[in-house]
């Protein structure tokens, strides 16, 4: 009985006070409605953002006394025990900047990732599919930052979430409600000596109700928490889909095992990127029209491989035509290859196969919530913003949000602030909003700039790209920004 009572208490303050409060509650409400189950932080959504938030809160001695809960619709035990054979990779991969990796390391999660499945890359080749203007992000001698030459780490999302779950299990202390859908979010009640009328109450399937001092929406682009808080998210759909696949390459890359290279080519339909995974494996992210995406998904493995090889080699005219063919892209590709000139060392090695069942697509959007906070509500990750994947920043933005929110909560706890109040959450918004907004804007403009197949923008953008490529310091500035190791400019 005592244990139950303790669980239901507000954990923000010391244990003895909690008990004192609990005794009071029992005295006053023993015959009335069920006592509210109060948590300091209720996080809705067990994706990378939500899990790293809880991990960071549990790992931090200042915030580890907070009573925290996780609500996730999926069965997390499956995620935790996720395992694939060494030569198979999931098609949903993300690039983690060194900054994100450092944060994950600080909260003790990095070591729980299967390191044999994490692939750092050190160089990038980005070029314009229309004009072939190119920027090579390789570290000139002497320009490499002291932290190392890693631009980012390629990693399967499941490896990250699985590692975070393992770390959370090690830390303990999180009330996990998995396989639980959020059915409704309401406000609490006002009682004689306790007024919870501004506290969110999360109703989950099975009838359980969780009252939150701070409700964190890590629940994705269609965030129910955001809807509850009445925060609008503005933006647009790109009318593009991201086609992903796990690819088998002819070799482990031009730079060998130790200098892996990421490639991205801007096509008028959207950028196509090939990112290195361990060994001969690479992961594909191809932003293209929904029609092209459904065609790509319908192709035989042979023709799909031909299309991917074509996407990095052939002219946009050839590519456009090959998207009108129902089949035989392989044959078309081998003919056009004879009449197309390129430097084979400047593009990814030839794709020789595609892992079965990994070709999939998802729609691309740009969304930015008007704010990330409300009274007793904070949004992180995709719930706050959805970005075009061309810069590989989506997951990193979410990690940046989490890092900032945890810092904000830590400050609030050490200064006696209510972690759910707008006053304490303000610094989270002011730290993240502008930075995210600038990044969203830049990526959005990049997408639009490179969507033009012809017109006055095409030579201008090539001039810009070539100019940046020629200017060493400017280029290394961009590289450090991309790696998240540069000076904070926003």
């Amino acid at each position: 009985m005592e244990a139950v009572a303790r669980r239901k208490a507000a954990a923000y303050v010391c244990r003895s006070c909690t008990r004192q409060f609990q005794r009071q509650l029992r005295r006053n409400y023993s015959n009335s409605a069920p006592r509210p189950d109060i948590y300091d932080v209720v996080c809705v959504g067990g994706g990378p953002a939500g899990l790293s938030l809880l991990t960071a809160l549990r790992a931090n001695p200042v915030t580890s006394h907070l009573r925290v809960a996780l609500v996730e619709a999926q069965d997390l035990s499956k995620v935790k025990s996720w395992k694939l054979p060494p030569n198979k990779y999931s098609n949903r991969c993300s690039s983690l900047t060194p900054t994100s990796a450092l944060f994950l390391d600080q909260i003790g999660a990095w070591e729980h990732l299967d390191q044999t499945r994490v692939q750092p890359y050190h160089e990038m080749q980005v070029w314009d599919g229309v004009t072939d203007a190119r920027i090579e992000f390789d570290w000139a001698p002497g320009s490499a930052p002291v932290e190392g030459t890693t631009i980012a780490y390629m990693n399967e999302n499941l490896n990250l979430t699985s590692g975070l779950l393992k770390r959370l299990e090690q830390l303990g202390g999180v009330s996990v409600f998995e396989g639980a859908n959020v059915e409704n979010i309401t406000f609490g009640e006002e009682m004689e000596d306790l007024d919870l009328s501004q506290w969110p109450v999360v109703h989950i399937s099975g009838g359980k109700q969780l009252t939150a001092r701070l409700l964190v929406g890590a629940d994705g682009a269609n965030s129910p928490v955001r809807a509850f808080a009445g925060i609008d998210a503005k933006g647009w759909d790109y009318n593009r889909h991201g086609v992903v696949a796990t690819l088998e390459m002819e070799g482990e890359g031009w730079g060998g095992e130790h200098t892996k290279i990421a490639y991205q080519r801007f096509l008028p339909t959207g950028p196509v990127a090939m990112l290195p995974m361990p060994g001969n494996v690479a992961t594909l992210v191809w932003s293209t029209t929904p029609e092209n995406a459904s065609l790509l998904k319908s192709l035989s493995p042979k023709d799909f491989v031909a299309m991917v090889n074509a996407a990095f080699r052939l002219s946009t005219v050839d590519l456009a035509f090959m998207h009108t063919q129902g089949t035989d892209q392989d044959d078309e590709y081998s003919w056009r290859l004879q009449h197309t000139s390129f430097n084979p060392r400047a593009i990814p090695q030839t794709v020789v196969g595609v892992q079965e069942g990994t070709v999939a697509s998802f729609p691309l959007k740009m969304r930015h919530a008007d704010t990330y906070i409300g009274e007793r509500v904070a949004l992180v990750g995709d719930a706050a913003h959805t970005i075009h994947p061309l810069a590989g920043q989506g997951l990193n933005q979410g990690q940046g949000d989490v890092q900032s929110l945890v810092k904000t909560i830590e400050f609030a706890v050490t200064h006696g602030q209510d972690i759910g109040s707008i006053m304490s959450l303000e610094s989270y918004v002011s730290e993240r909003y502008t930075a995210n907004h600038v990044l969203l804007g830049v990526v959005d403009k990049l997408h639009k700039l490179y969507s033009a197949g012809s017109g006055p923008l095409v030579p201008l953008r090539s001039l810009g790209l070539n100019a940046v490529n020629a200017l060493g310091p400017l280029k290394s500035f961009f590289m450090k920004q991309a790696a998240g190791s540069g000076t904070k400019i926003f």
Binding site: A10, I38, H415, D418
Partner: protein
């Protein structure tokens, strides 16, 4: 007690402004209000005015909010002014925003003061002990690190207002209890109703409608048990006789404990920023909040604690921290600015005897 205090000499010359009678009348409707008992022995005309203003109001004594006063250093006009502000006290974008933003710095300053001295008062609280250990003179000589893990502090917040500092102090894991007093029943009502919104506060936080002068009568154990931290933030500039006020406060500070204050220096800069700009031009602070003539300079306040040998034995060396409000960024510590505008001053009580 301290006849030669410069503050005392300063006090009678301070000008007082006449408040809008409407704000006084509005107080009558606040239900928590109750009339203080008029057993005054104070020579101050202002105290009498305070009484006369309120005896016409409907009264309903209640155990929790009644206050009795033998004398008061608090200006009744000030009380009515803050009563009128009560409604917006907790609005993060309201007139008290600057105070909300300053609050974390108060904790930083207290932390700063406490860690500056090897001596500390503290209260050891075992898991089930609901009663505080009796204060002993030995406690003052114990070093903090011996018992760091179980050290819990008792706070007294004088002039707590809507409870911005009191609530935050009560939330700290290192706090055992907070007694927050304020003579304005209106703001205390706001403070109480706001504290109700956080279930974690009620076990630790107690509000009492009281002046510092009437506190020993209302809560005798406050004098015997004393406090590890006695705070009076943005209070002294609203008090008619600051030195008398401080004389009263001294008895509540535990030996080894700290008296922490914040106020505004009386300079042209502070007049320009807090009166002219903040109140008249920008309106970020309600008009009539500050009376520039009541501002106390850092050297004046410091002087009170250092003026006699007796005082120097009783109090440690005062520590000051100047802060500047930067619009858009909030409060920032700026060394040296204590001479110019807002500043904190903290002083540790050394002697064990109250009649210093």
């Amino acid at each position: 007690m301290l006849p030669s205090s410069p503050l005392r000499q300063l006090a009678p010359t301070m000008a007082r402004r006449v408040r809008n009678p409407k704000t006084v009348a509005r107080l009558a409707s606040i239900p928590q209000y109750s009339a203080p008992v008029t057993t005054t022995s104070s020579p101050s005309a202002t105290t009498q005015r305070w009484h006369s203003n309120h005896t016409s109001s409907p009264s309903g004594p209640s155990s929790s909010s009644s206050s009795s006063s033998s004398s008061s250093s608090v200006n009744p006009d000030e009380i009515s002014h803050f009563n009128a502000l009560a409604a917006t006290w907790w609005d993060p974008h309201g007139s008290s925003r600057a105070l909300h933003l300053m609050n974390p710095l108060r904790h930083d300053f207290i932390q700063n003061c406490r860690s500056s001295s090897p001596y500390s008062s503290f209260t050891v609280l075992t898991e089930d002990a609901s009663d505080l250990l009796p204060p002993s003179s030995d406690a003052a000589h114990n070093t903090t690190h011996n018992t760091a893990n179980v050290q819990k502090l008792r706070y007294l917040d004088i002039g707590c207002g809507g409870g911005i500092f009191a609530e935050s102090a009560a939330r700290l894991p290192t706090t055992s209890s907070v007694l927050a007093i304020d003579p304005s029943p209106g703001v205390l009502a706001i403070a109480r109703s706001h504290a109700k919104k956080d279930p974690g506060l009620s076990p630790k936080l107690t509000y009492l409608s009281s002046t510092i002068e009437s506190l020993p009568t209302l809560k005798p154990e406050a004098v015997t048990q004393k406090f590890d931290v006695v705070s009076c933030f943005e209070v002294i500039e609203h008090v008619d006789h600051p030195s008398l006020f401080l004389d009263h406060v001294a008895q509540f500070v535990k030996p080894g404990g700290w008296l922490v204050m914040s106020t505004i220096a009386r300079t042209w800069t502070s007049w320009f920023t807090t009166n002219f700009m903040a109140e008249d031009v920008l309106g970020i602070v309600p008009k009539g909040t500050h009376d520039w003539h009541k501002y106390i300079n850092e050297y004046e306040l410091r002087g009170y604690f250092e003026e006699t040998e007796e005082k120097r034995r009783f109090w440690g060396r005062p520590r000051a921290m100047g802060v500047v409000y930067v619009p858009g960024l909030g409060w920032k510590e700026v060394p040296g600015s204590e001479k110019v505008g807002n500043y904190f001053l903290g002083v540790q009580r050394l002697a064990g005897e109250d009649n210093a």
